[in-house]
C-alpha cells in the first residue's frame, strides 16, 4: 500500500522535533480535496500557498513536486493536507533565508457529510473568541491557528456545524474552518480579510464565479448584525464546497438562489 504521508518526498510519519513549524508555527498549509486523483481547485491552492509563504519570506516547493506528491498519497478520493515549514534549526527566532523548507503531504479520509446538508443548510453559532488583528500576515493560512482551536472548543453540540468569528470591532470575519458570504437584495459580500482571517481557495473561486455570473460581490467590512439581515448566508471551504446557513440563533433561512447557483458551479467544475 502506498504511504499516506510524505515528508520531504519520502514516506514517513515524523518530522524533526526541532522543526520551526513545531517550535513557532513558522509555516503555512493548505487543505485540498482530491477526487478520483484530481486535486480540486488546485491552481488557486498553489497560488495561495505561494502568496501566503511570501508574506513569511518562506520558500515553497515547486508546483510539480507537490502535484506529484499529492497524486502519490491520494490516488483516489481523499483530503490532502500540505504543510510547508521553515525547516529544522537550532534555538532562536532568527532564520536563514536560504535554508531548505520542510514539506508534509498527508492524505486523510474524506469526512462523511449528510447529503441533505447542502440543501437544508446548517446551524451556526457566534463564537465568543474575538479574532486578533495582524495585518502583516492576515489572510495567510499559517500554522499559528490557536484562535481556531479555541473557537472550535466553544461548542460540542453536533447540531452546530460551524462557529462564526468577529474581530474586536464586531465585524464578521469568517467561520472556524470556512469563509462566509452574505447576500442581500441580489448582492453578495464577503469579509475583508486584510486584518484577520484566512483567505480560502474556495472563497477565491466563489468570488470568480460570482463575477462570471455578474452577481456583484463586495469584499468589505461586514458588521456582524448584517448576518441576521441577510437574505442568504453561505459558508465555503475546499471540503464542503458551499453550504447554506439554515439557522443562527432564532433566525432561519431556506437555501437561496445565489447559494444554489454557486453550489451548481462548484459541482460542475469539480465533477
Amino acid at each position: 500500500m502506498a504511504s499516506t504521508i510524505l515528508v520531504n518526498g519520502s514516506p514517513g510519519e515524523s518530522i524533526s522535533a526541532l522543526d520551526r513549524g513545531l517550535a513557532y508555527g513558522d509555516g503555512v498549509f493548505r487543505t485540498v480535496r482530491v477526487k478520483r486523483g484530481r486535486a480540486l481547485n488546485w491552481p488557486r491552492h498553489y497560488d495561495r500557498l505561494r502568496s501566503d509563504a511570501a508574506l513569511l519570506s518562506l520558500r515553497v516547493p515547486e508546483e510539480r513536486t507537490l502535484v506529484t506528491e499529492i497524486a502519490s498519497v491520494a490516488p483516489g478520493d481523499a483530503v490532502v493536507k500540505v504543510i510547508v515549514t521553515r525547516g529544522a534549526s537550532g534555538r532562536g527566532y532568527a532564520f536563514d533565508r536560504t535554508a531548505p523548507s520542510t514539506r508534509v503531504v498527508a492524505a486523510f479520509p474524506v469526512p462523511a457529510h449528510a447529503e441533505a446538508v447542502a440543501i437544508d443548510g446548517v446551524r451556526v453559532r457566534r463564537c465568543d473568541l474575538v479574532l486578533s488583528r495582524q495585518p502583516r500576515y492576515a489572510g495567510a493560512k499559517t500554522l499559528n491557528r490557536l484562535e481556531n482551536v479555541l473557537a472550535r472548543a466553544e461548542w460540542s453540540d453536533p447540531e452546530v456545524a460551524e462557529g462564526l468569528l468577529a474581530d474586536e470591532d464586531g465585524l464578521l470575519i469568517e467561520g472556524t474552518v470556512t469563509n462566509v458570504f452574505v447576500v442581500r437584495g441580489g448582492r453578495a459580500a464577503t469579509p475583508d480579510l486584510s486584518r484577520c482571517g484566512v483567505t480560502g481557495a474556495q472563497r477565491e473561486r466563489v468570488r470568480d464565479f460570482l463575477a462570471r455570473e455578474r452577481i456583484p460581490c463586495e469584499v468589505r467590512d461586514i458588521p456582524f448584525a448584517e448576518v441576521l439581515e441577510a437574505d442568504e448566508l453561505f459558508l465555503t471551504n475546499s471540503l464542503i464546497g458551499a453550504w447554506p446557513v439554515a439557522c443562527h440563533g432564532g433566525r432561519r433561512w431556506a437555501r437561496g438562489e445565489i447559494t444554489r447557483r454557486i453550489q451548481a458551479l462548484i459541482e460542475a467544475e469539480d465533477a
Copy 2:
C-alpha cells in the same frame, strides 16, 4: 553519550507529522537555563507552564517528570527547551480533552555572550511589526510565535541585540525574546501583558525581587515614548538574566542602580 532530546521521555529526534503542535501551534513551551545540572528559576517556569497550558485546556506533564527529563538531557550547563503540545490527532481543530499530550525536552549549548554586555548594556531598536491583541491567551508562551519570527527578521545588524515591540496603541509590550522594565525616579514599571506579550519566568522573578527590595514596580500600560524618558531600561529573560539597555536611537544610558541591584540578586540566586 546521553541523548540531548527526549520525546515523551524517550531519546529521539522526531515527533509525529500529525502532531497538533506542528499543525496549529497547539501547545506551549519554556526555555530554561540549566547551570551545573540545576534548572534556574524552575518553580516559576513550571508555574508558568501550568498556567499557560490551562489557558489552552492543555494537560501538562507532572513536575517530577520534567525535572527528571531536564536532568537527563542537561547534566551540566545548557539551555533546555520544554515543549508541551496537544499531541497527534487527525484533521480538524476539535480536540479530545483526555488525549495524551506530547512533550519534547531538548538541550542546546549555552549561547556565548560577551561578559561586558551585562555592564555596558546593549543596543535595541523598535520593530515595525505591531503585536496583535488576543486577551484569551495573552501572556502565555504558546507555539504561535510568528510575530516574534517576523519581528526578529527585521534586522540583521549584530550590534542590535533586541527589538522592542509595541501594540496598535503604541504601548510598549516586550522585546522579541525579552521582557522590558523601565525605571524613572526610583520607580520601576513593566508592561501589562493582559492583551499581548509573553510573561517570562525571569520577569516574574524580577518583580518579586523588586518587591522584596521595596522598589515600587507597576504593571501597567507604558506608552512607547516612556522608553526615551526612562532613567534606566533593562531587558530580562531566562538566558541573559537582566541586561541594561545602553542605546536606543539617539538616546544613551549608563547602567543604572536598580538594574545593577537586580542583576546582583539574579546572580546570587543562580550562583
